[in-house]
Amino acid sequence: MRLGHVIGTVTLHTADEALKGGNLLVVQPFSRGHFAGAPMLPLAKGNTVVVYDNLGAGLGQVIGFTEGAEATMPFTYPIPIDALNAALIDSVSYNPPAA
């Protein structure tokens, strides 16, 4: 699972039947600075991920999302997603050893 900020949403005109009941979030994964508590902006470099969400995350919220085949496991029907919002994160306590 990885952490990321929700920076947007995706609206589909026509979509697979299975995608109903949730929405698609645009998520920017954390950089190391974000783990340490840095504000959302500036965003981390790296690919932005579109995550299927049925927990109702809002803009700017920190979420924990899983990727790959595991993202489809909670569903009993085939669903064409590879990233799923698994947790709305309340707090992150990150203290790596001093380098």
């Binding site: 994964p29 954390f30 950089s31 496991m73 009993t76 994160i89 309340d90 707090s91 990150y94 790596p96």
Partner: protein, 93 residues
């Protein structure tokens, strides 16, 4: 399995039911010499590993689903073992 160091914890009240009841820890993957190797990853930890402790975590979803006893869990990483004393080439670090 991946060698890693525990660098912190994460709390989430709204989450998939299979995550409840276990700590979610921030694992920093390490290379053979014990240096940081890639971005931190979150894993479920049943052993209560301490901060900066070295652990092995698995990235195999099916093992994780067996562990949390939920065939519908979206989790993929969980801490398999806590390392006592590394031996072999990288052990002096």
């Amino acid at each position: 399995m991946q060698l890693a160091r525990i660098d912190g914890t994460v709390t989430a009240t709204v989450c998939h039911p299979s995550m409840r009841g276990c700590r979610t820890v921030i694992c920093q993957p390490l290379d053979a010499e014990g240096r940081d190797d890639g971005p931190p990853v979150l894993a479920v930890d049943p052993h209560g590993a301490g901060l900066h402790q070295r652990v092995f975590f698995t990235t195999d979803g099916s093992a994780t689903r067996d562990f949390v006893r939920d065939p519908h869990s979206p989790l993929r990483n969980f801490v398999l073992a806590v390392v006592d004393a590394p031996t072999g080439a990288g052990s002096q670090r």
